[in-house]
Structures are given as C-alpha cells and as structure tokens.
Amino acid sequence: MKASHLSDDRLIELCVLDEASATEHQHLAACARCDARRVRLQRLLDEVSDTATAAADAAFTTDRLTRQQARILAHLQHEGRPARVIAFPAGRAPHEPVVSRTRPGSRWIAAAAVAGLVVGAIAGRFGHDYSFGRPGAARVIVARTVEQPELRANGSTATVREVTASISDDELLNQLEIAIDGPAAAALQPIDDLTPRAWEIR
C-alpha cells in the first residue's frame, strides 16, 4: 500500500482529538518518519501539560486546597443571611444612650491641648507687633560698618557690620540696596541666577 504521509494537522488531530483509522494505523506502522513525527509531537504535548500541571500542583498543595475549601464554605455560610448592622460608634448597642466613655484624665489632656492651641494662636497674632502703633518703625537688627584691621592687612575691601540699634523700614531698605550694589554681591550673582523666583515656582 502506497499511502501518502500524514499531514501536520492530521497528526495534531491524532494526538489530541481523534483515534487513528485503520488505514492510518497501517501507515504509521509502516512509515517510520510519520510515526516519529507523531511520537515527537505527542511527547511535546505531554511535556507541556505535565509542566503546567506540575507547576499548579506545586503551588497548590493539599494543605492549601483544604484551606481554600474551608474559606469557600465559610463564605457560603454567611451567604443569603441578612446583613449584620454594625453599631456606630463601635461598641454601642443601637438603643444605648450616648454617654461619654472617656476617662477624666484624657479629658484634661484634651482641654490642655485646646487651651495651648488658643494661647499659641493669640500669641502668634500679636507677638510680632513690637511697634505698638508706630508704622514704618519695625524693630530690626541693623549693622554699623566697621573695618577689621586683620582684613585690611590682607588687602581685602570687605567690611563687617556690627549690630547696634533699631532703624526704620526705609533705612533698612536703603542699606539693603547699597549692599546689593556693592562688589561683594556681584560674586553672588550666579547663585542668584540659579535661584527661582517666587512667581516662577507658582
């Protein structure tokens, strides 16, 4: 009998779906090539399913399956029952009158915290108002320029300012402008360029 070789699709069918017909049986018995193809494919499919099965069985041990079954049944036990009403606040029965369960000690702590907060807020509101009604005369720390002998000896033109007295806002701004225009500030320009402005970061 001169039968043609089995197609790939037919080999797949024989491996996973159908029984071989009598003719196919004869062909497979006679044709070593087709039989080898069938055996290789069957071995591959077995290997794939064995791998899948082994991975799942390793992940789901008998113990794990038992626990899973218990969880399923426990879940079903509550299935179909009316929902339990949870009292709110927790621990209070629905008809129980609301009474404070806090201890006196913790109430004192809460009261002290509130009092501290109020005092802090008031102090914050009035604490920085040192002028007592004199506008433009906020107390600021201001410096008087003095020349340090050791700096002069090094040839440096830098000066050190000494804190002396209170000045008005205008005087402070003037002095700031003078300081900014000075040669020492020029060295800080690159840093100033790198520093974002408030309006840039909004």
Partner: protein
C-alpha cells in the same frame, strides 16, 4: 448564561457524578434546605478543586490570583446554582464561570499593575515543594530552563488560543465541552487548538536535553 447552539446540539450524554451532585444541590437549595445543600457542595468543591486551580493557575500564573479566582468561581456557582441546567455537564458550566473569573481578575490585575511600583521579580513565584529523590544541580538547572521555555511559549499564545489549549489539554476537556464553555463553535475551538499547537511546536520542538 446562555450557551451556544454548538453545545446544545450535542447528543445527550449520561450525566457525570459531578452533574448529578450539582442537580441534587440545586434541588436542596430550591427546597429551602440550604445547610444541607452547603454540605453537599463541599463534596463538589473537593471533586472539582484540583482541576480548577490547574486551569486558573495556567491562566493567571500567580498563586494568589488563581486562589482568588477559584474561590470566586465556587462561590458564584453556589449562589447561582438555581440557574444550573441539569441537562448540561456541570464541568462545562463551572469552567465557563471559572474562565470568566480569571478574565475579570486578569483585567483588574493589569489595572493594578499600571499603578504599582515594580517589586522584586521573584516575589510572586510559587513555593516549590521538594520531591525525593533530589535531582542533581545540573538536572535541576536544565529542568528549570525547559520549564521556563514551556511557560514562556504558552504565555506567548494569543489569549483565545491559550484558553482553548489549556482547557483541551491541561483540563482535558473535549472540543465540544470547550465550545460550550467558551460560547464558540466547535470548529472555531479546533482552529484555535491547531494554531496553538502549531505555534508551540515551532517554539519548543527539539529533543529535550537529558
């Protein structure tokens, strides 16, 4: 859950033990004997559980997700047991619910991963139980490589082909049962199965190194 005509036209086969059990549970639930139904259901869960976790694990590749999908499916089955049609195999009905649970979980997992910070890639690997006798280190390495190859090959299949292949070959269902479970014609199932096997053969077929 409507099934396609492909499955409904199949010749009536004698009901399996699981189908009989499911019909009995349905009768108990309908009769108001919920506790008795639940007890019987424990038996059904035990009979289907191993197969269910194999399918879910093959599908999701994550122990916790597979665990959750299987639990969801079993709970859904019991809560909807009154809609079970006794003329159809229980395994088919259950498989359909399980596959849907896996799909839902896969979807929610992809949503979750979109926002998650990547963790160690080895974190969710299942613990492997050692089996005696211990293979050599080389054997273990070769075996692990081959396992990874097979897993990657199956993962690379398109979703439909993977599902059909898993149900036909891992869950050992017939193409008629798979067509009922997935709502596809049997011819379509066969096409997907053929394509899956062809691709797997292309990716994997070589004599294993032993």
């Amino acid at each position: 859950m409507p099934l396609t005509a492909a499955g409904a036209s199949a010749a009536p086969a004698p009901l399996s033990r699981d189908s009989q059990l499911a019909a009995e549970i349905k009768g108990l639930v309908v009769g108001g004997e919920r506790d008795a139904a639940r007890e019987r259901y424990g038996e059904l869960v035990a009979r289907q559980q191993r197969r269910a976790v194999r399918i879910a694990y093959q599908y999701l590749r994550d122990v916790h997700d597979a665990d959750e999908a299987v639990q969801d499916a079993f709970i859904k089955v019991f809560t909807h047991i009154t809609s079970y049609r006794e003329d159809l195999p229980f395994e088919v009905w259950f498989t359909r619910i399980l596959v849907n649970a896996c799909l839902d979980l896969r979807k929610s997992r992809s949503r979750r991963l979109r926002w998650a910070v990547p963790m160690s890639s080895t974190g969710d690997l299942p613990p492997t139980d050692p089996v005696a006798p211990e293979p050599s280190a080389e054997q273990r390495l070769v075996s692990r490589e081959r396992t990874n190859e097979i897993t990657a090959a199956v993962e690379s299949l398109p979703a439909r082909q993977r599902t059909v292949f898993t149900l036909c070959h891992v869950a050992e269902q017939t193409t008629a049962e798979v067509s009922q479970a997935l709502g596809l014609s049997e011819a379509t199932v066969r096409v997907h199965l053929f394509r899956a096997i062809r691709k797997l053969r292309r990716l994997l077929q070589r004599e294993p190194r032993r």
